[in-house]
Subunit: 352 residues, 2 copies
C-alpha cells in the first residue's frame, strides 16, 4: 500500500472458501473441491476500484460444471483456476467500496465467489437488490440469474402465444419451476418432466403444471410426450439436452420453438449424446435457439419488477432447497447432477 494517500485501518478476518482441487472429467464429486481457510482484510486495497462483499447466500447452478473442466473453446466461460475459490452468483452485503455506485451496507447480488468475503474487482457484475422486503435468498433464484433465465428464455426465445402447448424438462428445478408458472400466466398448456414422483407431484400441486411425468419411469420418452401432448409441442424449454431433446424434436408442431437453456444430462459425459432428430426442424420450420443470460441483461430491470409483482400477488411460488454453511457447499453442488435437490439449490453461509 506504499504510495497510497489514504491508509485504512481494517480488521483482518478468517475467510473460508471452496476451492477447486483439480479439473474434472466425467461426473464430478465432492473430492474435486476442498475447503480452505485464508484471511481477508475487511477493506478494499487503496488505489483499487472494487467492492468488498460479505457473501450471505451462494447459488448452486449446473453451469458451474462447465467451469470445472479444462476446455479449449474460447466461447465457453473459462475454467475455474485450481486452488482458487469457485466463481458464481451470490447474494452479499457490501463491507467496503471504492466504486461510486456501491456503499457499505448495500445488499447486492451478482458474480462473486464461494467464500465468506470476496473482493469484486468488476463491480459492474453486481446489482443492487431493490426488493429487500422479499427473502434475500430469492436473488440467487427467482429474482436472480435463474429467474431472468426462465423469463427471458421463455418470453424472448420461446415467444409464447396464448394456447400454446409447452413442454419443460427438469421442470421442478430453479428455472423449470418458474417456466411452468410463467407459461400458465401466458395462457399456455404446460407439461413438465422431472426425475422423481415427489417432484412430479410438486409440479402439479405447487407450480401449476397441467400434466407431468417422471422420465426415469418411462421406457419411451416419445410415447410419454405423445400421451401428455397428443397434439404436439409448440415450445420445448430444454434444460437437459440429450435423449429428451431428441424425443421432443420429433413431437414439435410446425413453427415450433426449442429454447435451449441447459443440457444438464450432458455436462458430465466425456462423449456427448449424438442427436439424431435435428432433421425434423426443416419440414416443420422449427427454430432451436440457445440461451445465455449475459445476452439478456438489458431485460433484468423489467424482469425484476414484473417477477417481484408475481411473487407478491401469489402468482409465482418458489421452492428452495437450502443447505447451511459453506462446508456443505460441495455436496450441494454435486447433488444437482443426480437430481438430489428439490427446487432451487443454495447455500446459506451468513444471514447478515
Amino acid at each position: 500500500m506504499a504510495g497510497s494517500s489514504e491508509e485504512k485501518v481494517a480488521l483482518v478476518v478468517q475467510n473460508k472458501k471452496v476451492v477447486l482441487r483439480s479439473h474434472v472429467t466425467g461426473f464430478p464429486n465432492e473430492d474435486d473441491m476442498e475447503i480452505m481457510v485464508d484471511t481477508t482484510k475487511l477493506c478494499v486495497p487503496a488505489g483499487m476500484t472494487a467492492v468488498l462483499i460479505k457473501n450471505l447466500y451462494l447459488s448452486c447452478d449446473p453451469w458451474m460444471r462447465f467451469r470445472m473442466s479444462k476446455h479449449e473453446d474460447g466461447g465457453l466461460p473459462p475454467a475455474f483456476v485450481i486452488g482458487e475459490a469457485l466463481v458464481n452468483f451470490t447474494v452479499g452485503k457490501v463491507v467496503d467500496s471504492t466504486h461510486p455506485e456501491f456503499n457499505a451496507g448495500d445488499l447486492v447480488w451478482g458474480m462473486s465467489a464461494w467464500e465468506e468475503y470476496t473482493l469484486v474487482t468488476q463491480p459492474e457484475s453486481l446489482h443492487k437488490i431493490n426488493h429487500t422486503e422479499l427473502p434475500l435468498s430469492y436473488y440467487t433464484g427467482v429474482l436472480g440469474m435463474p429467474g431472468l433465465t426462465a423469463y427471458a428464455c421463455f418470453f424472448e426465445v420461446g415467444k409464447p402465444k396464448k394456447g400454446d402447448f409447452v413442454f419443460v424438462s427438469a421442470a421442478s428445478g430453479a428455472v423449470g419451476q418458474l417456466v411452468g408458472q410463467l407459461a400458465k400466466i401466458a395462457g399456455c398448456y404446460v407439461v413438465g418432466s422431472a426425475g422423481s414422483d415427489e417432484k412430479v407431484s410438486l409440479l402439479k400441486a405447487k407450480f401449476g403444471y397441467d400434466d407431468a411425468f417422471n422420465y426415469k419411469m418411462e421406457t419411451d420418452l416419445g410415447a410419454a410426450l405423445k400421451r401428455c401432448l397428443p397434439g404436439g409441442i409448440d415450445i420445448y424449454f430444454d434444460n437437459v439436452g440429450g435423449a429428451t431433446l431428441d424425443a421432443a424434436l420429433l413431437q414439435m408442431r410446425p413453427g415450433g420453438r426449442v429454447a435451449v437453456c441447459g443440457m444438464i444430462s450432458q455436462y458430465n459425459l466425456v462423449e456427448p449424446y449424438g442427436l439424431r432428430n435435428l432433421f425434423c426442424i426443416m419440414p416443420k420450420a422449427i427454430r432451436v435457439e440457445g440461451f445465455y443470460f449475459t445476452f439478456y441483461m438489458h431485460v433484468y430491470a423489467r424482469f425484476e419488477e414484473e417477477m417481484a409483482g408475481y411473487i407478491k400477488d401469489g402468482k409465482v411460488t418458489v421452492v428452495e432447497d437450502v443447505v447451511e454453511g459453506i462446508d456443505s457447499a460441495p455436496a450441494a453442488l454435486i447433488g444437482l447432477f443426480s437430481g438430489k435437490n428439490v427446487g432451487k439449490q443454495l447455500v446459506a453461509i451468513a444471514r447478515a
Copy 2:
C-alpha cells in the same frame, strides 16, 4: 362423364412417366424407378376443376429422396405412391383448364409429376411464369423453388448484415450457388464447400465466393473452416447436415445463425449422424432454424421480381446441368446424391 352437360372431344396421347417401383431404404438407385407408358386424354374431365399441363422441364431436387421412403411421421411430406409418377416441381404449358385463373397456352411452374402430361387437381400449387423473356428452365431453379429457398432462407432466416462471415455447404448446387451470390450482394464475406476441385473453381470464378474448399480433400473440417474463416462464422447456410454441421457449430460466432435448408448427407442413411456439438448454441446464443419453402410462399412475388432483376443486370449467374429426355430422369436424380451434377440438375422433356 355421364351426367356432364358438356362433353369435350379430345385427343388421346401417349404419356410416358417415371414411377416408383418400391419404397427405398439407404442409397437409392435407378432401379427403384421405372419408365412406364400410359395414355392421357388431352382435356380436363368434365365436372372437375383442374389444369392439364404438358411438362417441359422436370426439376431434380434432393428433397425427393424423403418421399421415396416410407415414413410414419406426419410432419414430413408424404411418401410417393408405388406405381405412380414421382411428384415434384416442373415447368409446363397449360393444355386445358377448368380453373378460372389458368388458360390453355399459359406457361406455369409448380407441383406436378414426372410424366409428359399431368392433370393438376390442386391448381393453387401452380404459378404463372411472369418472365418469359428468361429461359423457362430457370423456373425449376433460380426463379423456382430453389431460388425462393436460397433467397428466403438466407434473408429471412439468416438475417445477414453487411460484413457478416457466411459459410455455405453444397455451395455449387441449385441453392448454394445462389446463396453465395446473394451474400455478396448483401455485402458479406462468403466461403463455400463443395465435393470436387472443379466445383471449388466454379465457386470462386463464377459465383463470387471469396474462398472455397473441397471437403473431400480435407481431413479435418474444423481446421478447414478455421483456415478460411479464422474469425468464425456469423451465418452457416446448411445444405448437408451431418459432420459439416457439427464442425460449423463449433466455429459459430456469438449471436450466429444456422439456416438449415437441407441435409443431403443424411437422406440415404438408415441411421442418421449423431450431432455432438449442439451444446455450443448456449454460450454463444446461436439460433438454428429449419427452412421449408411452403412457409415462405408469401415472399415469392417479391423474390421473383428481385431475382429476375439480378439475372438481367448480370448480378446473378446461373449454372444448370440439363439432361435430355424423360428416360434420363432416374439417373439424373440418383446423381444428385453422389454429387455428379454441376449446378442445378434438371431434365428437359419438351421445349414447347
